[in-house]
């Protein structure tokens, strides 16, 4: 009689999406003013459709669909340094995010481990972390540009600095919260400190560490778009900026969709990893 929950949810999602598209379509159809009557034809030739035909500045779902199709057909074209296909732009952004993120993992996990194991270091580093954590990553940009003197490395640095904190805090929390009994059992069995860290504490803290990593990748992906809009050159953020420059709302919506989908894929990848390391208590 009743379908499984997943299928019902899926049908409901589709329905919501369809209603949204309909509403959007209707809203853009009626938007904008009436076409201006009796304008000089020579003048009209020099003006945009918003003025001559009363077209809404907001594109409809059909326009966006058409543009998405155009991008999908040819995602890897390269017409010079300032005009590359959506696929190439996405690859640039992804490359930056993964590089900055990987660096952050390399720093945050060992450091978090250390902080989690030693109450002294934890207390000593705490004020620094508390001050640095809430700084908006983009606020680092001018400083990075000035000191690093390279815009693409600056962008990677910004990704690094924004993704390091959640991982650091989660790792140290996860490590310090490992059950004392497990560590004590390991100690009784004369397991060396290095082996203890890798075989007992790491697996025990892994779910918490992965949570931190999942939060970080989300933040990194949020920040890269803003960073690229600021620095320009390549990447999906630059694409948004370039189309904004042309006041092409259609392409901006396309980019927003792509950014959302990509963010979802990144998040789901880490969610899957997280499930793999979670253990029943």
């Amino acid at each position: 009689m009743t379908l499984p929950l997943n299928i019902r949810a899926f049908v409901l999602s589709l329905a919501i999406f369809a209603v949204f598209l309909m509403a959007w379509h209707v809203a853009t159809q009626s938007g904008g003013g009436a076409p201006a009557a009796n304008i000089d034809p020579e003048y009209a030739k020099l003006m945009g459709q918003q003025v001559t035909q009363g077209k809404s500045a907001m594109p409809g779902p059909l326009d966006v669909g058409k543009t998405i199709w155009g991008h999908l057909k040819d995602p890897f074209y390269d017409k010079g340094p300032n005009d590359k296909g959506l696929g190439i732009q996405l690859a640039y952004s992804l490359g930056r995010v993964l590089l900055g993120y990987a660096l952050a993992v390399l720093v945050a996990v060992p450091l978090g481990f250390l902080i989690g194991l030693s109450p002294l270091i934890s207390k000593a580093l705490d004020p620094f972390i508390q001050v640095l954590k809430p700084i908006s990553p983009l606020a680092w940009m001018p400083l990075a540009l000035y000191t690093i003197k390279d815009s693409s490395i600056s962008a990677i640095f910004v990704i690094f600095i924004c993704s390091v904190w959640p991982m650091l805090l989660n790792t140290s929390f996860g490590v310090s919260a490992v059950r004392r009994e497990w560590v004590n059992v390991a100690r009784t069995l004369e397991v060396g400190p290095m082996k203890r860290a890798l075989t007992v504490i790491l697996p025990a803290a892994a779910p918490t560490i992965l949570t931190g990593m999942r939060i970080s990748i989300g933040i990194a992906w949020l920040v890269i778009v803003a960073a690229e809009m600021l620095v320009g050159g390549t990447g999906i953020g630059y694409f948004v900026w370039n189309e904004w420059n042309n006041l092409s709302i259609t392409n901006v919506i396309v980019a927003i969709t792509v950014i959302g989908l990509m963010g979802m894929i990144l998040d789901q990848t880490l969610a899957r990893l997280q499930r793999a390391v979670t253990y029943p208590d």
Binding site: I39, G233, L247
Partner: protein, 458 residues
């Protein structure tokens, strides 16, 4: 009116007709001279020949009056023969045209506005490759970023607002780094655009409380808007609000009603009209006809360490500027720079800007072929004027070495380096008259000029 001119004012002419006496008016005189130089600029050999000849004659006759006296007395052809026998003008021209660049792959940054036309069009139209360069023109998000990327040496040269290299050289708003302007890109080509809801408020006196946008604090736009407002009795600091907004955000902000208007670069003015959100109140040429706007800027290091690359790059820009100065080529240029790789705007918008036949947003079509023009010569009088405005609005304080800084940024590099190498110099100061809203400017008395304004921050 000429009857009432002050005959003891050295900056004004009281004689009717033009300076050479062959034309009815100064305007006709300038038109004729211009037609002749455009003609010369069409052919490559004559163009470089002209540049080198100019440099040589300026070196021989630092004062223009002497040169003219000499030419009048001996005749142009005798003079040319005499000087050619003494100095190897032909060889110098050849050297200027053929030096091998030290560095072939160059990166030049630009902001997607029509001021950058020569820099941009030189790429698709092959002016860089003609001089043996492989130039990448890279679109940049804003003035602060283009400044930092140029200071970082990610760019070899860049499109900047002409006050920026002055500010950078003095260390105002950045670390002090010696900068140069080897060429101005465009003259005129800006406009005051107001929101369509202000259609009836054409008198600046009624603009109290308005919010305006300009592209950058150190921009001609900022200084021209302040000048214009102050001349109409509006204090730009207290009566209105002026914010720095990157050009692409100007139209979006105007549409969102965040600002009442802007003095901005094209294509933003025309784009606001095209999208029906604004109208063009006045063109910037109505404030100062022939004002410089953006510049082609390079660090002194690039100029001195890779002089041939620099010369080749500059030649590409000079070629492009010469090509752009011919109104017949403007449509072709509009098409070349419209794609997403360059300015990324509808061709219709760019055509209106470059040809000067444009919709004003009020329902009529205006025609002004000099709406934007291209003239590469960086007169140092321009620099002095900019410095006086920086002083006037409190961006720089204390004593300013107007002539010194102007020479250093706008002129000196070329005279010391390129003159020796090949012979390229901008014209000597003094021959350019600067008139802003009917008030003439004497570059030799900058401090008096600053003092002469009623509204100022000194």
């Amino acid at each position: 009116m000429s009857l009432f001119k002050n005959a003891f004012d050295a900056t004004r002419r009281i004689v009717r007709g033009c300076t050479c006496g062959q034309h009815d008016s100064q305007d006709a005189h300038e038109r004729a001279l211009r037609a002749e130089s455009v003609e010369a600029a069409q052919h490559e050999e004559t163009r470089y020949g002209r540049i080198v000849e100019n440099a040589v004659m300026r070196a021989l006759f630092p004062r223009d009056a002497q040169r003219r006296l000499f030419l009048q007395q001996v005749g142009a052809s005798t003079a040319m023969a005499a000087i050619s026998s003494l100095l190897p003008i032909a060889a110098a021209t050849e050297a200027f045209a053929q030096a091998v660049p030290e560095k072939k792959d160059l990166k030049v940054g630009f902001i997607p506005i029509t001021c950058a036309t020569p820099i941009i069009m030189a790429h698709p139209m092959g002016f860089y490759s003609k001089h043996g360069l492989n130039v990448e023109v890279i679109k940049t998000a804003g003035w602060a970023v283009i400044r930092d990327k140029t200071l970082n040496k990610e760019y070899d040269a860049a499109h900047m607002l002409s006050p920026m290299p002055l500010a950078i050289t003095m260390g105002v708003g950045s670390t002090a780094t010696p900068y140069t302007i080897p060429a101005i890109e465009n003259i005129n080509g800006q406009a005051i655009t107001l929101s369509v809801k202000h259609k009836d408020k054409r008198d600046p006196k009624s603009w109290k409380g308005f919010k305006f946008a300009v592209p950058f604090d150190y921009s001609m736009h900022n200084y021209l808007l302040r000048y214009y407002l102050a001349e109409h009795g509006i204090d730009p600091d207290t009566d209105v609000q002026i914010r720095a907004v990157p050009p692409p955000e100007m139209v979006a902000n105007l549409r969102a009603d965040n600002i009442d208007g802007f003095l901005g670069p094209d294509p933003m003015n025309q784009r606001a009209v095209f999208d029906g959100v604004g109208f063009i109140h006045i063109l910037s040429k109505q404030i100062w006809d022939g004002h410089p706007c953006c510049a082609f800027a390079a660090s002194r290091e690039f100029v001195t360490q890779t002089p041939n690359s620099y010369a080749a790059l500059l030649k590409g820009i000079i070629d492009a500027t010469a090509f752009a100065s011919n109104p017949d080529n403007r449509k072709q240029i509009a098409e070349a720079i419209a794609p997403a790789n360059y300015i990324n705007q509808p061709v219709t918008v760019l055509e209106q800007i470059l040809t000067g036949t444009y919709a004003d947003g009020l329902g009529s079509v205006q025609r002004d072929p000099k709406r934007i023009d291209f003239d590469p010569f960086p007169w140092d009088g321009f620099a002095v004027w900019i410095l006086t405005q920086m002083k006037r609005w409190g961006q720089i304080k204390g004593d300013v070495d107007y002539a010194g800084i102007a020479k250093q940024v706008f002129l000196e590099t070329d005279t010391t380096k390129l003159m020796k190498e090949a012979g390229l110099t901008p014209p000597t100061p003094g021959s350019k008259t600067i008139v802003v809203m009917g008030k003439s400017f004497d570059a030799s008395k900058p401090e008096d000029y600053v003092k002469s304004f009623a509204i100022k921050r000194t």
